[in-house]
């Protein structure tokens, strides 16, 4: 019950964030160069036609009226119709969403599977080979641009070895390259955070208590080091997933992966401001939700946070 009450409170407290985001998105889209009405009408359209389209879209109304119209529509669940596709924005997003979700999850899973053990081992054995590999991976992950990793992988696996497809999403094999590309970037950060978090917990006093009890090293490490070290790692993982669910713009574009990120790029190039608005709003929502989920996981791991969070609700 406390959890439900907590969630209700969190959603309620998200409203100001959401309103702020709506205002910001609205202004951002209006100040972008390019006239959507003229774009829709085509380069040889008459001024009357452009004017007519402008009226249809409501672009001739005063700016504050436009904002109120926009917010009312959003509250009703109406994200508007895409100018380019003529379909409801929400449909476009929902159509692309599964691709983004699967790519995000596969990439994060690969990153976790490699970065966590690597970070842990390099913290426990700072002078080992694994530790060296971990530093190299964090360095590559942190300093290499995504598009470059993507191009190199395409060059090796698609062009030279002809093993994997380089674009599209027609078969499960298509996900391999974009997922690896993304996971390499995630891995760098995750390895570094895991390593430093484990090192920090290792030197804390309660670990000495655990040793003084005569517990086996393995239990001390898993129970008293790793579980405590998990707390900052969860934050990073949450942020990463949140980021990815909003669409991995560059990766999706390079690999022509039909997710939210490439949809956003298309929308921007077409000056489809309704679609752009919709996608950005969707990203904001994803972030709010991911933050709440991360906090709940936090509370599950750390009773101190649990007490504070539950008490506030």
């Amino acid at each position: 019950m406390t959890l439900v009450r907590y969630l209700v409170r969190r959603v309620y407290h998200s409203i100001p964030t959401l309103v702020g985001a709506l205002l910001f998105i609205f202004i951002l889209v209006r100040v972008l160069p390019g006239d959507p009405a003229r774009l829709i009408a085509g380069p040889e359209a008459l001024e009357e036609d452009v004017q007519r389209i402008r009226e249809q879209l409501g672009l001739n109304k005063p700016i504050h009226t436009q904002f109120i119209d926009y917010v009312t529509a959003v509250l009703k669940g109406d994200f508007g119709r895409s100018i380019k596709f003529g379909t409801p924005v929400i449909n476009e997003i929902l159509f692309r969403l599964p691709y983004t979700i699967i790519l995000a999850l596969v990439a994060e899973a690969i990153a976790i599977a490699i970065a966590l053990p690597l970070g842990i081992i390099s913290a426990l054995r700072p002078k080992s080979k694994t530790s060296y590999i971990a530093s190299v991976i964090s360095l590559i992950g942190a300093s290499t641009p995504v598009f470059w990793i993507a191009l190199i992988l395409i060059y090796i696996f698609s062009v030279s070895l002809k093993l994997l497809p380089s674009s599209g999403a027609d078969s499960p094999r298509h996900i391999i390259l974009p997922a690896i590309t993304l996971s390499l970037v995630l891995m760098g950060n995750l390895t570094r955070i895991t390593r430093s978090s484990v090192i920090e917990v290792l030197s804390s006093n309660h670990v000495l208590t655990a040793l003084a009890k005569g517990l086996k090293d393995r239990i001390v490490i898993t129970r008293h080091v790793l579980k405590n070290a998990l707390i900052p790692i969860i934050t990073i993982m949450g942020l990463q997933v949140g980021n990815l669910l909003g669409g991995a713009v560059i990766t999706e574009t390079v690999f022509a992966w039909p997710g939210i990120g490439s949809l956003l790029i298309d929308a921007i190039f077409f000056r489809d401001y309704v679609l752009v608005q919709g996608i950005i709003l969707f990203m904001v929502l994803v972030f709010i939700i991911v933050n709440i989920v991360v906090d709940v996981i936090y509370a599950y791991v750390d009773p101190r946070i649990r007490d504070v969070l539950w008490r506030m609700s």
Partner: protein, 324 residues
């Protein structure tokens, strides 16, 4: 008397980039069955390092350079990791200074105490719930049936220290090392904890090595006192003898401060504790000693027996054999 612990020529150094810290530099000490041995020293005198060494908990960069720590005749410095683990928590318990950071914040205190039984008897922790509740009763934690499910942050400092004590006594160890167990607590709570440790000693006939900077506290509870200065012991003796007639100039100075309220102005000890990286040559106390002799900066005095008491001072029973 029956010896529980015998420390012989112990040297523990820390190899740091700034230099070698000689935290424990030649310590000889016996702990007898059922006694409370107080170790008094300023911060930075090496007393915590000594505590960790006795409890078999030294970790790098600490390194044992030489010496033996015989627990029941077995040198714990030469034990394998597994052998050491079966002693830690079962035969030797340790109580740390700061109850807040020495408990893991994410487990209930009952679970953390139950781990001691798990470590030495095996099985699930839940199996030992009754033992843990009984332990909590023994250390006078109110409402123990509920308290076992509390998390550390839900308990007061004194309560947390009781939890740590219950961990240390869970397996009825022969030796308990208490490293400043009351320093982080209020004075009233301090008295309660000291009283508790005294009761435990009587009940279990456990030896307690009580380490503190608070000599006044030791005068109240310790049977014998060892005074530590800059990595060495300067005087070891029965509590009342040390109080009545301190022999070493450092002990004299400490005791005179304690007598301040009863007598006249104390003579403060001038200067401060020397660096353990570059300790002064000869007697380490000589730069601060009011009775300093020229040879004090050249000869490092040995701990010698003077009428059943041990003192390391050239003025006392040393090579020139003079009294105090």
């Amino acid at each position: 008397m029956e010896k529980v612990l015998e420390i012989l020529g112990l040297r523990v150094y820390y190899e740091l980039p700034q230099g070698t810290v000689k935290a424990v530099d030649g310590v000889d000490l016996d702990v007898f069955k059922g006694e409370i041995l107080g170790i008094a020293g300023e911060s930075g005198s090496g007393k915590s390092t000594l505590a960790l060494t006795i409890a078999g908990l030294l970790r790098p960069p600490a390194k044992v350079i030489s010496g033996k720590v015989l627990f029941r005749g077995i040198d714990i410095l030469r034990l394998s990791n597994d052998e050491l683990r079966s002693i830690r928590g079962r035969k030797i318990g340790i109580i740390f200074q700061d109850p807040v950071t020495y408990l893991n914040p994410i487990y209930t205190v009952g679970f953390q105490v139950g781990e001691v039984f798990e470590a030495h008897r095996g099985g699930k922790i839940l199996k030992y719930l009754n033992e843990v509740i009984n332990l909590f009763k023994a250390v006078k934690i109110g409402d123990p049936e509920r308290r076992v499910y509390s998390y550390p942050h839900q308990l007061s400092g004194g309560m947390k220290q009781r939890v740590l004590i219950s961990m240390a006594i869970a397996e009825k160890p022969e030796l308990i090392v208490a490293d400043e167990p009351t320093s982080a607590l209020d004075v009233t709570i301090q008295a309660e904890i000291v009283e508790l440790l005294n009761e435990i000693r009587k009940e279990l006939n456990t030896s307690i090595v009580f380490i503190t900077h608070d000599l006044a506290l030791l005068l109240e509870i310790a049977d014998r006192i060892a005074v530590m200065y800059a990595g060495k012991l300067v005087e070891v003796g029965k509590t009342y003898e040390i109080y009545k007639d301190p022999l070493h100039p450092y002990t004299k100075a400490l005791i005179s401060v304690l007598r301040y309220e009863r007598k006249r102005r104390p003579t403060p000890i001038k200067g401060s504790i020397p660096s353990l990286i570059n300790p002064p040559p000869g007697c380490r106390f000589h730069p601060r000693c009011p009775y300093v002799l020229p040879k004090c900066s050249q000869v490092d005095p040995k701990l010698v027996n003077v009428n059943g008491r041990y003192v390391s001072c050239l003025l006392v029973g040393g090579s020139d054999g003079g009294g105090s």
